[in-house]
């Protein structure tokens, strides 16, 4: 229990784990186990920091001790023939413990966001890309194109942090033109300088990038319209992109939610490569929320493979399609699901008849009560940790903000692994 006598205190430079931007400039007020964002907050931070601090483990819906719940989770894991460690919304140490456990018990690893993230991964593995990071955009970008969405609903402070600054390393009075391609300008954000919208259905963005590539290469096209817009719109856009000194095209791959969207990502990235023949231009693939890039990074560095990897044969077997969570559960190929979700109580396990062990934020509610529920602490709130930002370059330290009796994901999984050996 948190000590009720703890006086309220203000904590500066807090890192926020509730989206892939991992802003590290928040000021929060902490009083007992209550946390309130004072400065540099956003809707996601308010919800995330405001969530419950206590919870009790359950086995088949009945209250249980942590030790009993851990032992039951280990028992289920021992008897499972093909366990799936899913969700995986955790910090670096949680991901390290997950990978170790998967190797130990022959499990499959797959993150809750990996179906969307795969669209970027496939592009990178097939043809690659040219990308940039947040501080480069903040200082250099003179043109930002936002493809397929508004960014802000998923990454609320993106414009605050990267576009709205007046001062840059290279001078005052910054003007960065912003163009929304196939998405709406976000409400509630006042952009400086020029901003505009090119209407285009997100499923037709691939066609748009193909046309733009042809125009950038100086080819003339017979068509009078493409991707739902007149050709002169694309010609103007191509000219504008080529005139940029440091152009950036950002996309949140979750917004590209249609079959074979990896081809749209690839067309976008190949267009950026083309632009770099004469000027500088870069992509910004936005992700990192729910620890997706954190888990991917840890698995990659330890084993050489990312999400969608099975350890069932005593060595890594990577196949992002075969080992996708939805497919494994739909076909009954997994007979036990561990669902790890330490950032948001809303990210509950998929509805399944497969026995499920949930390591989740307290307050999580279920359509079907899991076999075991273990409430876990949130990194950056209940315990210290690390999270990779959207660019996969910066790994920020997360602090413990309040006293907490909730165990970390790493601690629970380490205990489960230890219990496996006690059979």
């Amino acid at each position: 229990m948190p000590a009720p006598s703890t006086p309220p205190r203000q904590v500066p430079d807090v890192s926020c784990p509730f989206c892939g931007l991992v802003c590290d400039d928040l000021v929060v007020d902490v009083s007992g186990d209550m946390i309130k964002v004072r400065t540099n907050g956003c809707p996601l931070a308010s919800v995330g920091f405001g969530a419950a601090a206590v919870g009790e483990p359950r086995i088949a819906g009945r209250p249980a001790t942590l030790a009993a719940a851990t032992a039951e989770a280990a028992r289920l894991l021992r008897t499972a023939r093909q366990p799936l460690l899913g969700g995986l919304a955790t910090d670096v140490d949680g991901a390290r413990a997950t990978a170790r456990l998967a190797d130990r018990c022959g499990a499959i690893l797959d993150h809750m966001n990996s179906a969307a993230a795969l669209r970027n991964v496939l592009t990178m593995q097939d043809s690659g890309w040219i990308t940039t990071t947040l501080s480069e955009i903040r200082n250099r970008a003179d043109l930002l194109i936002v493809a397929g969405g508004d960014i802000v609903s998923r990454f609320p402070r993106f414009f605050d942090r990267c576009i709205l600054n007046q001062e840059t390393l290279f001078g005052e009075g910054r003007q960065c033109e912003v163009l929304f391609l196939g998405g709406q300008a976000p409400r509630g954000v006042t952009l400086p300088g020029r901003s505009s919208t090119v209407a285009c259905d997100v499923t037709r963005l691939g066609e748009a990038f193909g046309v733009l590539r042809a125009l950038i290469a100086g080819r003339s096209l017979m068509a009078t319209e493409a991707a739902g817009a007149p050709m002169q719109v694309w010609q103007q856009l191509a000219t504008r992109m080529q005139a940029a000194k440091y152009g950036v095209i950002a996309w949140a791959v979750t917004d590209f939610d249609f079959p074979h969207a990896e081809l749209t990502v690839q067309a976008l990235c190949e267009m950026v490569k083309d632009l770099n023949r004469t000027t500088r231009f870069a992509g910004l693939p936005l992700g990192g929320s729910d620890g997706d890039l954190t888990a991917e990074s840890v698995f990659l560095w330890q084993t050489g493979f990312g999400n969608g990897t099975s350890f069932g044969q005593g060595q890594p077997d990577h196949d992002a399609h075969q080992y996708a969570t939805a497919r494994l559960l739909d076909r009954g190929e997994a007979d036990l699901l561990f669902w790890i979700s330490s950032f948001s109580a809303d990210r509950t396990p998929p509805l399944t008849t497969v026995p499920t062990v949930v390591l989740g934020r307290p307050g999580m509610t279920f359509a079907r009560e899991p076999a075991v529920f273990i409430p876990v602490g949130t990194p950056g709130v209940d315990h210290a940790g690390h999270l990779f930002r959207t660019d996969r370059v910066v790994a920020l330290p997360l602090g413990q903000l309040r006293p907490s009796s909730l165990p970390s994901v790493a601690a629970v999984l380490t205990a489960v692994e230890a219990a496996l050996g006690e059979s």
């Binding site: 593995q125 043809s127 060595q315 370059v393």
Partner: protein, 552 residues
């Protein structure tokens, strides 16, 4: 616990021992003098007929950090062909060009290496580099922090700030990022590329800051020297891979103005423009310059044929070379007003003129460089070849017949343009021990590794003497780490986590306020969040000790 290693033939050049049969004693993880006659030996290893050296040290190997993880992600096809099965002791992983950290540690140890230094730690990515090195078992590790295209330094220089302030910044960066040395990559060039400059020659001005690579080399080598950091400025010169880059490389050696300088993967910077194809070996000129410049050292960055991946901070050069990627894919990144990176898979082919000549150029440099204390055995893993090719490279150096047989199989035009076939030199075991043990430890300023005198850490590799040196160096009979056997007959028998090597030069803490202001105004993280704490290092490294080596 007192161990005796009996009857091995020692190659311990740091202590002037060249192939002498001598007993060694280990107590509590360190080498000790022969004990009194009545002391009980707890365990004795009969090493008669064996070759004994200190554990090997790789002073330039890309084992951890963002660009390596990009390389790993790009190459599932390469990993699939080289899977490591789980054992009771070791975890599963995968290897070859960009191995997982687990495979990296296991395989280095299996080859008799006990320390590895990651040469390109970006300040903003240092935490990831340490996480990855922390998850690299078996070996000691350390990093060189990359400066020279960071806007903070370039602004200081453009404003004509005092060297003292630059020294404070360099020292702060070393301490914050827990590194042991400073590296500069294509000085100023990574930044210039962000301004759409595609080349930056040694005396060419950065278009925004007006400083030249030579200016950057001067202030950084001075900073490293004045701070007393033992390892000299580690320099990846301008113009990597370009025909004719020998001129800027020779200029870079001179630009140090008598201060210590280390030129890394110099093979990639030793190209002339002679011949029909305007690409030729300048190895002789480079070797002559190194031989005649006592303050200069180099590692070779030998290429060996086959599939690999090139991962470099030099975004400018990597973008320039992106058309050569094989398979055809590449990643280039601009990073945080701090640095950049570029990753492209590459397949060196022996029938390809340029690749064959690159192979010959590297070997020419090895064989023409007269002082083995100033030339280091590297492939710039994975850029020239994966580190697992080292035993093959050692055989090429030690066995002239083997080398010339291999040369005869290469692209014939390349054969005509190399003097390699006429070079008789064969490296001795003692020289190999200098290149891979004694000299790296000395250059890094680490006094208790790389040799076997009393007081040294008992990191020891024991080989069966075999005429085929490739076979001999592939699979040592024993590897001791901190006095314990971790590898037996090329198989891991104990998993350990090594230790970290760092330096912590002193600095005026006034720089911290300036950095805080700068980060708050221009960057997207807080300056204080770059700083890696002792607690974090402990978590990353599985409890591995973090050692701080003295500055001069």
């Amino acid at each position: 616990m007192l161990l005796k290693l009996t009857g091995g033939k020692l190659y311990d050049p740091a202590n002037g021992i060249d192939g002498v049969v001598r007993d060694l004693y280990i107590r509590d993880g360190r080498m000790v003098a022969p004990p009194a006659a009545d002391e009980r030996i707890d365990r004795e290893y009969d090493l008669s007929g064996r070759i004994v050296m200190a554990g090997a040290i790789d002073m330039h190997t890309h084992i951890g950090g963002g660009k390596l993880n990009i390389a790993r992600q790009m190459l599932p096809e390469d990993h699939r062909a080289d899977l490591l099965r789980r054992t009771d002791l070791t975890r599963s992983s995968s290897g070859h060009a960009a191995p997982g950290t687990l495979a990296t540690g296991y395989r280095y140890a299996e080859m008799g290496y006990t320390a590895c230094f990651e040469p390109a730690v970006l300040p903003v990515n240092a935490r990831q580099a340490h996480m990855e090195m922390g998850d690299t078992p078996m070996v000691d590790k350390g990093g060189y922090v990359m400066l020279g295209s960071d806007d903070f330094l370039l602004r200081l220089m453009a404003a004509g700030e005092d060297q003292k302030l630059i020294n404070d910044y360099v020292a702060w960066t070393l301490v914050a990022t827990r590194c042991i040395g400073v590296k500069v990559v294509n000085p100023g060039g990574i930044s210039a590329f962000k301004f759409n400059q595609r080349m930056l020659d040694l005396d060419e001005k950065h278009q925004f800051y007006g400083v030249t690579p030579r200016d950057i080399l001067r202030v950084l080598s001075r900073a490293v020297h004045e701070l007393g950091v033992p390892h000299p400025l580690h320099v990846h010169s301008s113009n990597l891979g370009l025909p004719g880059n020998v001129e800027s490389t020779l200029g870079t050696i001179r630009a140090s103005e008598g201060l210590p300088i280390h030129l890394t993967h110099i093979q990639f910077h030793s190209y002339g423009t002679e011949g029909d194809r305007k690409f030729s070996s300048a190895a002789a000129r480079i070797a002559e310059a190194i031989n005649g410049t006592p303050n200069a050292s180099c590692d070779v960055g030998q290429i060996l044929f086959g599939q690999t991946v090139t991962a470099s901070g030099d975004a400018m050069a990597q973008h320039r070379n992106s058309g050569l990627a094989n398979p055809k894919k590449f990643v280039v990144m601009d990073i945080e007003c701090d640095a950049g990176c570029g990753v492209l898979p590459f397949k060196y082919r022996d029938k390809n003129f340029v690749n064959a000549l690159q192979w010959a150029i590297g070997l020419e440099i090895f064989l023409l460089a007269s002082d083995p204390w100033r030339v280091f055995l590297t492939t710039d893993h994975p850029n020239g070849a994966p580190f697992t090719t080292y035993p093959h490279l050692i055989r090429l150096l030690m066995d002239r017949t083997f080398r010339n047989d291999r040369l005869a199989q290469l692209n014939v035009d390349a054969q005509a343009l190399t003097t390699l076939g006429s070079i008789d030199r064969e490296y001795t075991l003692n020289e190999i021990a200098i290149l891979t043990r004694a000299a790296p430890a000395k250059l890094l300023g680490i006094s208790d590794i790389g040799h076997l005198a009393p007081g040294a850490v008992a990191d020891i590799t024991v080989y069966r003497d075999h005429a085929d040196r490739e076979r001999m160096f592939t699979s040592p009979e024993y590897v001791f780490k901190d006095g314990e056997v971790i590898v037996r007959d090329g198989r891991i028998v104990k998993v350990t986590w090594g230790r970290y090597h760092t330096v912590q030069p002193a600095y005026d803490r006034g720089i911290e306020k300036r950095l805080r202001d700068y980060y708050e105004r221009f960057q997207t993280i807080r300056a204080d969040h770059l700083r890696i704490s002792a607690e974090e290092m402990d978590v990353f490294g599985h409890g591995a000790a973090v050692l701080t080596h003295p500055c001069r």
